[in-house]
């Protein structure tokens, strides 16, 4: 992986590496962008910096230990990964999960989706310089985090799902609390939807950015809101139902904008659906036990499980060999399915769109070089500018268009003397 900005010898394009360690990256990953002027002509990505060998580690631990390990695959979709894995194991061992447990899994799953989508909204706001939105949505996210902490004892790794059901029951008081919180969150989400539909900053900054059209989404195997914003009508909760989803009424939110704006609308729509699902699950929650006994040794067999995580479809494959340790565990997280779409979305876009497209990157070039080579793309003429001359030409460029600060500058100079 090259670690320097370099000029490609034949085309004169500039190759810029971003990551794996970069001030604006939330997690280590590495992008190599080829730029012609401001435009990205090619992008490639290198992952693996966070590879912890969890699949191998699962083979060496018992099913009980794996519960805790699998939950730590992700710090946000922890319930998604755990439930996906547990469902596969339950399929192999033919464990009949009680209805009440199925409902509780759905409630926690949807609360997790709310927490994840509100988090995303804040990050997206931050990446487009709309930090008020970050403050608002993360403030509201605290409501759902408190509810999760109340239900599960933890804010992030809930540890709710286990083989044969769930670890904790929901009390009538907790149901009341959740319903009250959901009402508040729904009110706030309506405001965000209003905001997304009318606020010009959001519409102008997100529209047409990070395009992923229907056919490209299918070809590149995109999943989740990324695909649904391009009109791909797919949702594992409806297509391959699990837990109590067959008994829930909800609609799959799709959109035809196919850009970051569309993805925002899809996520906001999914929030509204999540509130409705939680209300249905809590009001129709069946009575009865919330867990059945599961064997420590799982009979030999194999199963492929799917789960609609907040970021998209999660796939787990589990193979057992009759012992208390799995033979093979394979995890396909939604981001791995979406990563090819990211490079596609970046190509032929402006470098300035990268942060919001990747929603994790905020490159800083003003500190890299003080001497700037300029090539006019139309005439192929080359010239070299130092920092002061670049500034001067910038001032002239604006003066020609009627923006003139020279009088203000004079005034300021005088006042500093």
């Amino acid at each position: 992986m090259p670690n320097k900005i370099r000029k490609l010898p034949d085309s004169g394009d500039v190759q810029v590496p971003i990551g794996p360690q970069h001030p604006s990256l939330k997690e280590p990953e590495s992008f190599l962008l080829t730029l012609r002027g401001e435009k990205i002509t090619a992008a490639s990505v290198r992952l693996g910096y966070n590879h912890r060998g969890i699949e191998k580690a699962c083979e060496e631990r018992t099913y009980i230990q794996d519960l805790y390990l699998i939950e730590r695959v992700c710090g946000i979709c922890s319930h998604a990964h755990l439930t996906c894995f547990v469902q596969a194991v339950e399929e192999i061992a033919a464990i009949e999960v009680p209805k009440r447990a199925q409902y509780i899994r759905v409630v926690v799953g949807e609360l997790e989706r709310i927490h994840s989508h509100l988090l995303w909204l804040g990050v997206a706001g931050h990446e487009i310089g709309f930090d008020t939105l970050l403050m608002y949505s993360w403030r509201d996210r605290e409501i759902v985090m408190d509810i999760l902490a109340d239900l599960a004892g933890n804010r992030v790794h809930y540890g709710v799902t286990t083989y044969g059901g769930v670890k904790r029951d929901i009390t009538p008081e907790q149901i009341k609390d959740v319903l009250k919180a959901v009402d508040t969150l729904e009110e706030r989400t309506k405001y965000y939807i209003e905001l997304a539909k009318n606020e010009e900053t959001i519409i102008k900054r997100l529209s047409g950015v990070g395009m992923l059209k229907h056919d490209d989404a299918l070809r590149l195997g995109a999943v989740g809101p990324t695909a649904r914003a391009g009109g791909v009508d797919r949702d594992t909760r409806r297509d391959d139902p699990y837990a109590a989803y067959p008994e829930m009424k909800f609609k799959v939110v799709i959109d035809d904008h196919a850009d970051v704006y569309g993805r925002t609308l899809v996520r906001m729509g999914e929030l509204m659906e999540a509130y409705s699902i939680i209300r249905q699950a809590l009001t129709n929650m069946p009575e009865g036990v919330f867990r059945v006994r599961a064997p420590r040794r799982i009979p030999a067999g194999e199963a492929t499980g799917r789960y609609e995580a907040p970021r998209g479809e999660d796939v787990h494959y589990v193979k057992s060999n009759g012992s208390d340790k799995p033979e093979r565990v394979k995890i396909r997280a939604p981001t791995l399915a979406n990563i090819q779409a990211v490079t596609h979305m970046l190509e032929d876009r402006y470098l300035a769109d990268m942060p919001i497209v990747v929603a994790a990157i905020d490159p800083c070039f003003s500190c890299t070089d003080r001497l700037i080579g300029i090539k006019d793309l139309r005439t192929d003429k080359k010239q070299t500018l130092d920092w002061d001359n670049l500034r001067l030409s910038g001032i002239k460029w604006y003066q020609k268009r009627g923006v003139d600060f020279s009088r203000l500058n004079e005034k300021l100079k005088r006042s500093f003397k």
């Binding site: 391959d240 494959y317 396909r332 791995l336």
Partner: protein, 159 residues
């Protein structure tokens, strides 16, 4: 198309796959094919049948062989797990990137972690191991015992 219809159509198309398709539960089919027949079955399933998605590819060590499972899915929610077994000596599979561009990263993973050659895989950076990972070390093989943990430097063992 229902699970039963898919099973019948596969058996009708390929005589040698009689009773090879197993329906384990609703929406889950399993199919083992001989290695030399894999490509024609794969192409048929993904082009003539509604199995239009490749969810992921799982590779695993089975002792004398390696197992590769292609998890194919239909829009209706049906998953068909198509499996081949390849010999342990000079293991190699054909890249499916020409049919599914998303196969790229899954195949790189199999190549890195199990040491299975992927023929026809486009040039690109490895995934997921580090660039300086030693040759011939394949973590997902069952006989892999981990890299040496010999300590270099430090003062813990100094007398």
């Amino acid at each position: 198309m229902t699970e039963e219809q898919i099973k019948q159509q596969i058996e009708h198309q390929f005589g040698y796959l009689k009773d090879a398709v197993v329906i384990k539960r609703a929406r889950r089919l399993w199919l083992d094919v001989p290695m030399d027949k894999f490509e024609e079955v794969f192409v048929y399933l993904t082009e003539a049948m509604p199995l239009v998605r490749l969810l992921t590819i799982t590779g695993m060590d089975e002792g004398t062989t390696f197992g590769i499972i292609y998890h194919l899915a239909a829009e209706s929610g049906i998953i068909l797990n198509l499996r081949i077994h390849i010999p342990r000596e000079n293991p190699a599979i054909q890249s499916m990137t020409s049919k599914f561009s998303c196969a790229d990263i899954y195949e790189r993973e199999i190549k890195d972690l199990l040491g299975i050659q992927v023929l026809g895989l486009p040039e690109g950076r490895r995934y997921p191991l580090t660039d300086n990972w030693p040759d011939g070390e394949y973590p997902l093989r069952k006989d892999w015992k981990g890299l040496s943990t010999e300590k270099k430097g430090g003062t813990l063992n100094a007398q």
